[in-house]
Each structure stands twice: as structure tokens, then as C-alpha cells.
Symmetry: C2
Subunit: 225 residues, 2 copies
């Protein structure tokens, strides 16, 4: 099985082609610019570099949030279009799951944290046992202080949210807080691909699983209320 995976949930943009046993190609950029400028060209480049033809793809995986409203819409629309044109299945993956998957053998509990603006973060907690991910809560939105409030043990923060609120998190308890190295502080699409492959294997491809998972309403709606 060969999967094309993409992530546009945060300020990074990543595309990968993965097979069961190996990543074939992966391209990741971190940019403040809109993903619509890059995504399709990155997909074409990743396919070309992977050595396979686009007709060999067996399915698609894309992050459905939480994250940037515009980014998610671009990623999901593009991948849905490819899936519909080819008739191959598509699955949605939590952006926080994909972020945590970089730390599959972590000695500490992992907190994925993406900047949600307005003083808040999207976050979820994970525990890994022998490389197997166990998610401890549903994706949620809150202030970074409240995410940390109940913690007694050392933990590892990953994602642009933990970077933006680094000082706040360190103020809580310096000895208990660790941060992802910059080399692993963004979502890489290979992780989206393998999380998606699991879902396709388990036939977890319900249409509604592809609705963007914004958690809260978009800013425009808030401003009108």
C-alpha cells in the first residue's frame, strides 16, 4: 500500500509518499506564507522524487485539525479533490497525533501543542509504551497555563504552541518541563501517512471523518457575535 500524505494545519507544510515499510519521499517547509502557494507543487515534487507514478497511489491521508482555518481548508480540499478524481480512499488524521508521533519511544508523557492564537493552544496528551501511542484526552483548546496546571511529573512539549509559550511553561516548573529539539518541532507528513495507513487498514474511512476539526469557531464568527 502506498499513501500520499499532507499536512497544512500549522505554519509548516509537509507532503510525503510512504509505503508499508519505508518513507519514499518527504518534503517539509516552515513558512509564514499561505500554503495554497506551495501545496500542489510540493505534491507533484514528492511524487516525482518517490520514484512511483501517481497511478500507483492506493490512498490519501491529510491532517483535519486542529489548526489554522485557512491551512486546513487548503489541505483537505486539495486532498479530497485528488481522492475523488482517482476513486482512492482518503482519511483524516489529527494534527496533534501526527506531531506526537515523532516521539514514539519517549520516556516522558508528550504534550502536542499548536498555537491557536488569542492566548490559547490546541493540545492533547500522549503516553507511549514500547512505541505504541495511547492518547490521554480528546484534542482540546485552552490557555497554556491551564494545560500544565495539574502536572506533577516530567513531560515533553512539542509543536509551535510550546515554542510561542515556552516562557509561560517554564515558569510553571522548570525541572519538569522539556521541549522538543527544533529538528522535531513540526509536523512531518510521513507520520500523517502511517497514521492514515492504519485507519485505511481498519476501514476507518467514514466520510464525516474528513470534516475539518476546528474545535472552536473561526475568528470571523467570533467577531460577529
Amino acid at each position: 500500500m502506498i499513501i500520499l500524505a499532507a499536512d497544512t494545519a500549522s505554519k509548516s507544510c509537509s507532503v510525503a509518499i510512504v509505503s508499508e515499510h519505508s518513507v519514499l519521499s518527504e518534503i517539509t517547509i516552515v513558512t509564514q506564507k499561505t500554503h495554497s502557494r506551495y501545496l500542489m507543487e510540493m505534491i507533484e515534487s514528492a511524487i516525482r522524487r518517490s520514484g512511483i507514478s501517481k497511478h500507483e497511489l492506493d490512498g490519501y491521508a491529510v491532517t483535519i485539525g486542529p489548526g489554522s482555518f485557512t491551512g486546513l481548508r487548503i489541505g483537505i480540499s486539495t486532498m479530497k479533490g485528488l481522492s475523488e478524481a482517482t476513486g482512492k480512499p482518503i482519511v483524516g488524521v489529527s494534527s496533534l497525533d501526527a506531531l506526537a508521533a515523532s516521539f514514539s519511544f519517549s520516556v516522558f508523557p508528550v504534550c502536542s501543542m499548536l498555537d491557536a492564537r488569542r492566548g490559547e493552544v490546541y493540545y492533547a496528551w500522549y503516553q507511549f509504551t514500547d512505541g505504541v501511542m495511547k492518547k490521554k484526552n480528546q484534542d482540546a483548546v485552552a490557555s497554556p497555563k491551564s494545560v500544565f496546571a495539574d502536572l506533577k511529573t516530567p513531560c515533553l512539549f512539542v509543536g509551535d504552541g510550546s515554542e510561542v509559550y515556552r516562557e509561560v511553561l517554564m515558569d510553571q516548573d522548570r525541572g519538569n518541563v522539556f521541549f522538543s529539539p527544533p529538528s522535531q518541532n513540526m509536523i512531518r507528513a510521513a507520520h500523517v501517512g502511517y497514521l492514515g495507513m492504519e485507519k485505511i487498514h481498519s476501514q476507518d474511512t467514514l466520510e464525516n471523518a474528513l470534516i475539518p476539526y476546528y474545535i472552536r469557531k473561526c475568528d470571523a464568527v467570533y467577531q460577529n457575535e
Copy 2:
């Protein structure tokens, strides 16, 4: 400081642009074909995608081995050329260190293992404490069985060598052996970039540090002996 990093030590080929706080761009492919076909074009693509100009690069980092003779020569020659043309420093990084760096918070000791052919692997052992890497032995070459011989505790194997000799390693002690997920089983150049940045900061840029580190003589020499 902005670093251009490359790895061509094994069957994967990876290029990244990294700054102190963030990966700017990264491209990785896994291919059986020669890296000379791809490397320079991947470097140009990574620079273009990073949003910086090549004149903003402050230095270069490249894997110097152990690994494929041909791959290492291509990577080191190309990066040395760029460094000489621009007058910016270049540093060599162990391919096994770069491979292990994906597991910087690993609960288990990590063994980086690259296929050395002829029934052997290049390998090194690492222990991570609070995200800090401690290397337990010099890069070495041996049979996969002998690498494992003395181990009593659970450990995590990463790299194409552990994939090729998976059955051999599992035969030794099923409960004690864990393997990298496929999403992290190759060298990503972002890790080369940050390991290189540390060396540039510590002024560990001796010219002889850039000599390819083959460990053993190349096959052609062996055949003539």
C-alpha cells in the same frame, strides 16, 4: 546562524536548511539509485523552498560516514565545493549520530545500524538523558549478532541495517528488541544540520574532520587483497 545540511551515507538522500530555532526546509528521498543524480537539484530546491537566499547561509554540515563509499564521496565533494566557493565553514557529522538523533527522548538505549553489506553493519550505541545524547562507543563495523551479544536490557534499533537484519536481531531476544517505526528509519538532514551547528559553535571545524569515515576499506581494495 543558517546551515545547509546534507546526508548521502545510505540509500536515503536528505537535504535541509535549518536556523537556530526552526527547520526552514527539508527534503528526503529513499532510493536505490545513485545520489549524484539528485543531490545538487535537491539542494537548490531546499534553498528555494526555505525562503532564504543562498548568500544567507552561514555554513555547511554533511555526514562523513560510516556508510556507502560512493554516497559519501558524492555528498562530501558537493558540500566541500559549496563551502570553498563561498568561504563559509563546513563540518562533518557521523551518519550514525544523525540517525540516533530522531530518538532524543528515547526510554531505551538506541542502536544506530546501517547496512555495511557482506553480512555486517555499521553501528553505534547511544543513551539519552533528558534529551541529551551520550554516545557509548565509537562508530564500528561488526556482524549484527555480535552487536547484540552482550545486551540484557530492552533497546531500540534504528536504520536500514536493523531492517535488513530484523529477523537475526529478533531471534536473539524477542522481548528486548524494539525497532524504529518506518517513519523514522532513515537519516533526516535536519538532524545533521543541528549536530553540525553545535560543532560550528564549538569551532570544531578541523579540516581533517571532513575526511570520509569509511571504517573499513572499500570493496575494490578487498577484492585485490
